[in-house]
């Protein structure tokens, strides 16, 4: 690679040119994990991710380039945007799992497609019924209980996804199992939101 500014040789591994210190454009091959120099794994250490995000942000944030020449300013904006998008995608386990599926060529949630999970349908109906009853009765304790149980289910789903991803050949064997858990997680997120809206003072 050649630096756009001084035309010297640059290394892919660092955002800055070794000789003139100008910020270099993003490489096309970099995925969200490589931005943070983390292995492509579902299980990650949140503190480490946050630490790396902050360290990189300090160097790449547009605030550092407000007085830079337009081209470098544009590169900084692109880099910082990518960094924030990547952090958002990896921080949350649901998005992280969906991203890993996408990297494996399994964009199960693309194009707004809905996910069919007939086994879960019955459970969904039970949750909805419990929620509707608690709301109709104005039963704050019941609503809080529903939210707490949903959170427990979410934690269980995360642990299950973790186990699936640990398998050597998860991308050929477990894609559907993981995707259905993500779809269920989305459902629990909605249940929690609804339960807390009903319970809390408006």
């Amino acid at each position: 690679m050649t630096c756009w500014s001084c035309h010297g040789a640059t290394a892919q591994s660092t955002p800055f040119c070794g000789s003139c210190r100008k910020l270099q454009p993003l490489g096309r091959t970099e995925d969200y994990y490589s931005l943070f120099a983390l292995p492509r794994e579902f299980t990650l250490e949140p503190r480490l991710l946050e630490q790396r995000f902050r360290d990189l942000s300090r160097h790449l944030h547009p605030d550092r380039f407000a007085r830079a020449e337009p081209r470098e300013r544009r590169i900084a904006l692109e880099r910082a945007t990518r960094l924030n998008d990547a952090y958002r995608a990896l921080k949350d386990w649901r998005r992280r799992a969906a991203y890993l599926l996408k990297l494996a060529g399994q964009d199960v949630f693309g194009e707004g497609g809905s996910f069919h999970d007939p086994e879960f349908l019955e459970e969904q109906l039970e949750w909805r019924e419990a929620l509707a009853m608690a709301r109709a009765d104005g039963d704050a304790a019941a609503l809080a209980g529903i939210a707490a149980r949903s959170r427990a289910s979410l934690a269980a789903l995360e642990a299950e996804c973790g186990r699936y991803f640990e398998a050597e050949d998860w991308f050929s064997e477990s894609v559907w199992a993981i995707a259905s858990r993500l779809s269920r997680a989305r459902y629990y997120d909605n249940i929690i939101a609804d339960a807390e809206r009903g319970a809390g003072p408006q």
Binding site: R54, S57, R58, H61, P62, D63, R64, F65, A66, R67, A68, L77, A80, T81, R82, N84, D85, Y87, R88, G110, E111, G112, E196, G200, P201, Q202
Partner: protein, 620 residues
């Protein structure tokens, strides 16, 4: 290059600050030696403009020509005007952007131009104080400002000749000033109640990292609303002789009296007013602090839901501290409310009036010097950005409280065979349906290769920059054909309009400008003539002979004006043609709506019948 400055462009007052040689942020006196410049602009009939205290003194005598609280109208269209906005100012609601009629009705100014007048004065004060024109500047905006309001603020800065390095959220600016000055750490709520806007931001401060976790607010909630309820009570109880619907002068007088009473009641238990108002009216009233608090309680209560929502979005049930910002937080009842809401004694170490400007100065100085090693500001977008899908439902691309800059993409497919265009409607807000959200832009993607339905795929990418302002681009995936769309905000000003105003404000190259206006208005007139000709051909029978003659007479007048060089004459004739063809347009609309019910698409006709337009170039 000069020193960088920070500007707090407030609803009621504006301030400018800089970082001094000892590295301390300082407010620069802006008006008659005082730090606060009232955000008041007076447009006299003779064309002169006054800003600040001088303008505010004119307000009682010239209520319509003196604009206060213009921030409420930034980035807003006529459809956004609320009942409480009316009563004093006169509006021109013919364009996409609200305009205010001033100088005895001789001028129509946009809120952007009014704000630019305030900014120009601040720039001049900085120039005098710093011994030369300022370098870059940071202008603060309410965290809850949407894309159109941000764009309008940035345009005002450009119009005032400022080099706007960044728009900074007001609560974030305050947090920056607090964090650096008081070395606070932990999670904080910034409760910012100003003259016209309310913001709450939840931040985590950790060793120089200022991370906004969530933000909420209401861009139409502030001290102005306190004044309105108090003024209504004064008018109801103490106006002699009483009137059913008070005019602008009486309203303005009552609002000013309300503000004074309210401020006095911050420290006193009771206060009396005896004010002479124009038109032989007199306002005589007594108000106790208890009565005041009962009146404003419902307004204060409106800050509760945004605070609870922001805490919830931040994933917190409580915070380590609460910071008060904005002059309205001096009100004792507001402080009690905040204490009860967060269960914490609020921090008021820094002056709530100046803290935002100080934070803006710190940020401006940092940006100007290539950033600070010890500070990292991570701010968020306040409202989700989405795109309208089939059926009017919104698909959110970037969720609220996402750290900016941020981007997101979404692919769409064509729904008809051979479809070569696609309408993209960009909206901002949390509601499910597009018409409940703010419409930011609507544009048509052209040049999609004709293919069977569902084959052509267009990827739309939203990118929000560090100012919280959106750019949209589109790519046809099958062919790789890329188009970057200049999002022209529905309620903002186009590039050309800003340019036209810039040219006007410089008062330069007047002949060139005039020539351009003449050209542009001629083009517009030609467009109208052509569309009317085709309308006559299709629907001529909808007009009686007399009506047709009346229209033709005006068209002749328009053609005559088009031969001359007076663009105002062309514009005026277009106005009369519009008036004369209004009934015709309505009848055509009726006819085609009926036709549409018989299976035609009404849009085909609506766009052709429409006779209103955006001004191609505006000198006012």
């Amino acid at each position: 290059m000069g020193r960088a400055i920070g500007i707090d462009l407030g609803t009621t007052n504006s301030l400018v600050a800089h970082v001094d040689a000892r590295n301390r942020p300082q407010v620069i006196p802006a008006d008659e030696g005082r730090p606060l410049l009232p955000s008041a602009v007076h447009y006299a009939a003779d064309g002169s403009v006054e800003v600040g205290l001088a303008a505010r003194r004119r307000a009682p005598e010239r209520p319509v020509d003196t604009i206060l609280s213009v921030k409420r109208f930034m980035g807003r269209g006529p459809g956004d005007l609320r009942p409480e906005d009316r009563g004093i100012s006169r509006f021109d609601e013919s364009g996409a952007v609200v305009r205010l009629l001033v100088a005895d009705g001789a001028r129509a100014v946009t809120p952007i131009e009014v704000s630019a007048e305030v900014l120009r004065v601040l720039k001049r004060r900085a120039d005098e104080a710093l011994g030369g024109p300022p370098g870059g500047c940071v202008i603060t905006v309410p965290a809850y400002f949407d894309d159109a309001q941000r764009q309008a603020t940035k345009d005002a800065g450009r119009l005032a000749g400022l080099d706007v390095l960044r728009l900074l959220n007001e609560p974030t600016a305050a947090a920056l000033a607090y964090g650096l000055d008081k070395q606070v750490q932990g999670t904080f709520a910034v409760y910012d109640l100003g003259g016209g806007t309310f913001d709450v931001s939840i931040l985590r401060l950790d060793h120089g990292v200022f991370e906004v976790l969530a933000t909420g607010g209401d861009t139409h909630l502030g001290g102005d609303d306190f004044d309105r309820v108090v003024a209504a009570r004064l008018l109801e109880r103490g106006l002699t002789p009483p009137v059913a619907s008070p005019g602008p002068a009486v309203l303005r007088g009552a609002l000013a009296a309300a503000q004074r009473l309210r401020e006095t009641l911050t420290t006193e238990a009771a206060v009396e007013a005896d004010v002479e108002l124009p038109g032989g009216h007199r306002l005589l009233a007594r108000l106790t602090r208890e009565e005041l608090e009962a009146l404003i309680a419902p307004v204060i209560e409106r800050t509760t839901a945004p605070c609870r929502g922001a805490l919830k979005d931040a994933g917190l049930s409580t915070v380590d501290g609460v910071v008060l910002v904005g002059g309205t937080t001096r009100t004792p009842a507001v402080r009690r409310h905040v204490r009860a809401l967060f269960g914490k004694e609020p921090l008021t170490d820094l002056d709530p009036d100046t803290v935002v400007a100080l934070g803006a100065a710190v940020q401006a100085d940092a940006l100007d010097r290539g950033g600070r090693e010890d500070v990292l500001l991570l701010d968020v977008i306040p409202l989700s950005l989405g795109v309208e899908m089939m059926g009017g439902v919104v698909e959110k691309l970037i969720l609220r409280n996402s750290t900016i800059p941020a981007s997101a993409s979404q692919a769409f497919t064509t729904y008809a065979d051979g479809q070569t265009g696609m309408v993209i409607h960009v909206v901002q807000g949390e509601r499910e349906l597009a018409h409940d959200c703010r419409s930011l832009a609507r544009f048509t993607l052209k040049g999609i290769p004709a293919m069977p339905a569902g084959i052509a795929r267009v990827e739309i990418t939203y990118a929000v920059d560090a100012d919280g302002i959106l750019q949209v681009s589109a790519r046809e995936l099958a062919t790789g054909l890329e188009q970057t769309i200049q999002v022209k905000a529905t309620y903002g000003l186009g590039e050309e309009e800003v340019e036209a105003m810039l040219i006007e404000s410089i008062e330069h190259a007047e002949a060139d400008v005039t020539e351009r206006f003449v050209r542009e208005w001629r083009v517009e007139a030609e467009r109208i003539l052509a569309s009317l000709q085709s309308a006559f051909a299709v629907d001529g029978e909808l007009l009686s002979a007399a009506e047709r003659t009346a229209i033709e007479e005006r068209l002749a007048g328009l053609r005559g004006a088009m031969d001359g060089d007076d663009y105002l004459a062309i514009k005026t004739w277009i106005g009369t043609v519009d008036g004369a063809t209004k009934v015709f347009a309505e009848r055509r609309m009726d006819k085609h709506v009926r036709a549409a019910m018989a299976g035609h698409r009404v849009e085909e006709f609506a766009s052709e019948v429409r006779t209103t337009r955006q001004d191609p170039g505006e000198e006012e």
